[in-house]
């Protein structure tokens, strides 16, 4: 029977970050490691559309049309045939306040996890973020060193502008991603009107992205060919797959692909882990001194509940379902569309009005125009015509807010092993009129009626299922990641984050996993 010092489950952001910290030790990563079964055979979206190869763009099995009847059946970034492998893991369902089924989804078995489809915003949490969100038993300073190491490893683009105080200081930023005309217009207006508190409380700046604008540590710069909705993030967009292949190439990790975790049992000196070969369903047992669970907030919690035979128990569940708001800049209608762009153009926050939110401004050119037609309340032929004049002067604001556990939003495991999330409390964005006022001053117009809220779990920022505490109770974790009653089993993913500031939590998951991995190394047993 194989015996390792450390076994990490999952190759997502948490898993690879812990593996990086444990480099040089006897570490095994157990991972299903699904790979894409199809590819996007074009170098840019323009080339794809000019090719006339309908099957290659819409998918051999019409994957891009999976939302034809139900607009929320599949996340827009997970529809394309080359991205389908990302969401083929254990299934879950989200049930709303009226016992209606809101979302039916699946976790990820892909190498690199859900990060294959992420927006690549990697942001630090500051002490302000943690105290505002509340219940964090650690301070941001405990993550600082890990943030810095990861930023150096990954390569972050951005700018030290008005958003620096909100985003936290990062050294050695790469130049920001190319800006499109409407972004330049908004930034010019902002520069002309800004005061110390932004414009009507709105501060904006360039986003911090794991997107290479020049080569970094042997990885190429991104080509900005507007293929983000058709391929998994790759090349100049960092994903955990990059770190995984780096570790494997260097021979620094024992990678057990094609396997999934079935059960684990803790003994005095080791943890025994039962794994299954996914293809043959053959089971085997391996052992390690320490087990690190990094399967994501939902799936790790599921495994822990199943392990403790507590499928009836319910755990907290939090998410970041964003509010979406199209914003129109008439002064930039008719702008010539750039050949290259990246969806996330700007980041902002409303200050001085209670809790801070985070607003990402997206430029929608990387989507098919047909995706946007049903959202325009006009006949589709004229919606297309309107879009042609308008798209150069259009951004979509994606608004994220602080999220905390509540009694109404809980997860549990059904007797058949699927995850059920009861999502009975939704947050309505309360600062819409303030945001609209600030945007008007920057030449952007929208209407409250155009704002829509994404379905729960749509943002994929899941957390708090096994929250870390100084003095944990059952189904909580210690600050060093250990399960409440365990010495050798640790949780390293988003499960342990007790609340979510408005910012994306991906970099914090990675930094926290690195922090926990470092503590495992130093634990002395």
């Amino acid at each position: 029977m194989d015996f390792f010092e450390y076994i990490i489950i999952g190759s997502g952001p948490a898993g690879v970050s812990a593996a990086l910290k444990l480099e040089g030790t006897d570490t095994c990563m157990v991972d299903v490691g699904e790979q894409p079964s199809a590819s996007f055979p074009f170098t840019s979206l323009d080339e794809a559309l000019a090719s006339g190869q309908v099957g290659d763009v819409l998918g051999k099995h019409w994957e891009m049309l999976s939302n034809l009847a139900d607009p929320v059946r599949c996340h827009p970034k997970l529809r394309a045939q080359a991205v389908r492998h990302v969401m083929q893991g254990e299934s879950f369902q989200v049930i709303g306040a009226d016992d209606n089924l809101l979302v039916r989804g699946r976790g990820s078995f892909a190498a690199g996890g859900m990060a294959n489809a992420w927006g690549a915003q990697l942001l630090r949490y500051t002490d302000d973020d943690l105290s505002e969100a509340g219940d964090w038993p650690i301070s941001a300073s405990e993550l600082t060193r890990h943030y810095t190491d990861l930023e150096t490893h990954i390569g972050i683009s951005g700018e030290l502008d008005d958003m620096a105080a909100f985003l936290g200081h990062t050294d050695n930023l790469l130049p920001p991603v190319p800006s499109v005309p409407v972004t330049n217009y908004m930034l010019d207006r902002y520069a002309a009107k800004r005061c110390s508190n932004g414009v009507s409380g709105l501060r904006i700046g360039r986003p911090r992205l794991a997107v290479l604008t020049r080569p970094h540590r042997g990885r190429p710069a991104y080509d900005f060919a507007e293929t983000e909705f058709f391929t998994p993030a790759s090349g100049g967009i960092y994903t955990p797959r990059d770190t995984l292949s780096e570790l494997r190439q260097r021979g620094k990790i024992h990678y057990l692909g094609g396997h999934k975790l079935i059960a684990f049992r803790e003994h005095a000196d080791y943890v025994e882990i039962e794994i299954e070969v996914v293809k043959s369903r053959q089971r085997e047992t391996i052992r390690a001194k320490h087990l690190l669970l990094g399967c994501g907030a939902m799936q790790t919690a599921r495994l822990v509940l199943l392990n403790r035979a507590q499928t009836g128990a319910s755990l907290p569940f939090i998410d970041h379902p964003p509010t979406l708001l199209p914003v129109f800049f008439p002064a930039r209608f008719g702008s010539r569309l750039p050949q290259q762009s990246f969806p996330i153009q700007l980041i902002g926050t409303l200050t001085g009005n209670g809790e801070r939110d985070m607003i990402s401004f997206y430029y929608p050119a990387g989507m098919l125009w047909s995706d946007l037609l049903p959202d325009i309340p006009l006949p589709m032929n004229l919606a297309r015509s309107v879009l042609a004049g308008m798209i150069g002067g259009m951004l979509v604001a994606q608004i994220w807010e602080i999220s905390r556990p509540s009694q109404g939003n809980r997860m549990r495991v059904e007797p058949d092993g699927t995850v059920r999330i009861d999502y009975r409390e939704t947050q309505i964005y309360s600062k819409l009129s303030l945001l609209l006022d600030a945007l008007r001053r920057l030449g952007g117009f929208s209407l409250p009626g155009l704002a829509s809220m994404s379905p729960p779990s749509w943002g994929f920022h899941h957390a708090a299922t096994l929250p870390m505490r100084l003095d944990p109770e059952p189904f909580e974790t210690h600050t060093d990641g250990r399960l409440w009653d365990s010495r050798r089993i640790r949780v390293i993913d988003g499960s342990v984050l007790p609340s979510l500031p408005a910012k994306n939590h991906s970099l914090t998951i990675m930094a926290n996993a690195a922090r926990i991995a470092e503590q495992v190394k130093l634990c002395g047993y």
């Binding site: 000019a50 006339g52 034809l68 702008s335 047909s370 006009l378 006949p379 297309r384």
Partner: protein
């Protein structure tokens, strides 16, 4: 099967002509038929939806003007699905350059927006009238 194929071909031709004011390319019709054979979303529809589409095609009503009045509820109406399918196929077949061909120039952009809005108002009124007149659900 032959009559299904013939009626779907006719449906594709009508919807495409209304959408783009020209005949549908052969390839688009082929894809339209294949999508109907392979996509469950195009196979399942209520009797009301099937009747609405049949009446619109048979009487050559303004499908695009009627369709916005049928947008309600979490699931899209069969007519919306068929029009959307037509749009996707056209956008990807390299023969409809009006997709992704932006209008350049701020004045032209604004004029296009205003003109499209006026046309939309007329088309929506016509669609509302036809929907009521033929009892389309």
């Amino acid at each position: 099967m032959i009559s299904d194929c013939a009626s779907l071909t006719h449906e594709a031709e009508v919807l495409h002509r209304q959408f783009f004011h020209r005949d549908a390319p052969h390839k688009l019709i082929e894809c339209y038929l294949r999508a109907h054979a392979e996509l469950p979303d195009l196979a399942h529809a209520s009797d009301d939806e099937l009747r609405t589409v049949r009446v619109i095609i048979d009487k050559n009503l303004d499908a695009l003007g009627i369709e916005p009045w049928l947008r309600a509820g979490p699931e899209r109406h069969l007519l919306s699905r068929k029009l959307l399918l037509t749009a996707y196929l056209a956008e990807c077949d390299a023969e409809h350059r009006e997709f992704r061909q932006e209008v350049t120039g701020r004045v032209r952009g604004l004029v296009q927006l205003c003109w499209s809005s006026v046309r939309a108002a007329v088309q929506l009124l016509k669609g509302r009238f036809q929907k009521a007149m033929y009892g389309l659900l």
